[in-house]
């Protein structure tokens, strides 16, 4: 059911030419996928996706659209043979790849056997935090999280570099 709604939203995004509507729909897409994440037990991810995808991303999109002179996409030739081929090929490779995948929810899949059991069984003794996602995020793979913080930092100073203006008096004094 959720998946069908998601597919409908995604296709509506392709068909629409109004950018405001597309931006809102992409927010809805994020929100729906957050619901799907809850169904698949990923509560932390769902929380983040809802806050980021439906919240921050949408605010940024709308903020950008507010600065545009036109918020309608130009009607363009709808069929592009080469990109279509690329998309079909990529999709075909992916579907081909799924054929040998373990079944959805299979508890005997390799993913659940090798590294993950330690996080589930021993993280409480080793770290003392009931939320395993927090213990993996902050401790076992804390360095990834450090990298992630740096990515956010990069984006912040990148946006400042691109859009920031000199804050006149303060800057002039310094020079």
């Amino acid at each position: 059911m959720l998946l069908t709604l998601l597919a409908a939203t995604a296709i509506a995004i392709i068909l629409l030419h109004d950018l405001f509507a597309s931006a809102m729909l992409s927010g809805i897409f994020s929100l729906l996928s957050a619901a799907l994440f809850v169904v698949m037990d990923a509560v932390d991810v769902a929380f983040t996706e809802a806050a980021v995808g439906a919240g921050i991303s949408t605010v940024l999109m709308l903020g950008t659209l507010a600065l545009m002179t036109s918020t309608r996409e130009k009607a363009v030739r709808s069929f592009h043979p080469l990109p279509c081929l690329v998309v079909l090929l990529t999709g075909a490779v992916l579907v081909y790849g799924t054929l040998d995948m373990p079944r959805y929810g299979d508890p005997t899949a390799v993913v659940h056997q090798h590294v993950a059991p330690r996080y589930i069984e021993e993280s409480y003794q080793e770290i003392g935090v009931p939320n395993m996602v927090t213990s993996v995020l902050a401790s076992y793979r804390g360095y990834d999280t450090f990298g992630e913080t740096c990515v956010v930092f990069t984006a912040a100073i990148g946006v400042l570099l691109l859009l920031g203006r000199p804050r006149n008096h303060e800057e002039e004094e310094e020079l």
């Binding site: 769902a46 929380f47 806050a51 003392g128 927090t134 902050a138 999280t145 913080t149 400042l160 804050r167």
Partner: protein, 145 residues
């Protein structure tokens, strides 16, 4: 759009009541991440959305008077430095980078708690500041252009 929002009395009153609770909720998410879903990143986003709501309702100028962009920029850097600092600290405690066990010599678990608390705080500060800074820069562009 912004002008009408700033004149709307109901919006202003409701936001005034709501914003402290958003901040409170952000703090809850920040420090409750050990037990339920949440953590520094989510808390940062929520805290930032409180500030963004303030800016939307009361205007960018007033928001920037309270949260000076220059300081927001510095806080973002400080958040990253706090995270990295925990790592450096564990180096000085003869552990590997980001090894929290060595932060408390009596009980490694306490060390883990302390380490996680500090780095989540670092993430929270950096993310709040980054999101607010990005929002300020985006909307500030519209003003002066």
């Amino acid at each position: 759009m912004k002008q009408t929002m700033q004149r709307d009395l109901i919006l202003r009153v409701v936001s005034k009541v709501l914003i402290p609770y958003i901040f409170l909720f952000a703090l809850y998410v920040q420090f409750h991440g050990d037990y339920g879903p949440g953590g520094g990143f989510q808390a940062g986003v929520i805290f930032a959305s409180g500030i963004i709501l303030y800016a939307l309702v009361f205007g960018l100028r007033r928001a920037q008077a309270t949260f000076n962009p220059r300081w927001v920029e510095i806080f973002c850097a400080l958040g990253v430095l706090l995270f990295g600092g925990v790592g450096i600290w564990s180096l000085f405690q003869h552990g590997n980078f980001l090894d929290y066990n060595v932060l408390n010599h009596h009980d490694p678990k306490h060390g883990q708690h302390l380490g996680i608390l500090l780095i989540e705080l670092g993430v929270g500060i950096a993310v709040t500041a980054a999101m607010v800074s990005i929002f300020f820069t985006f909307t500030g562009r519209g003003r002066s252009a």
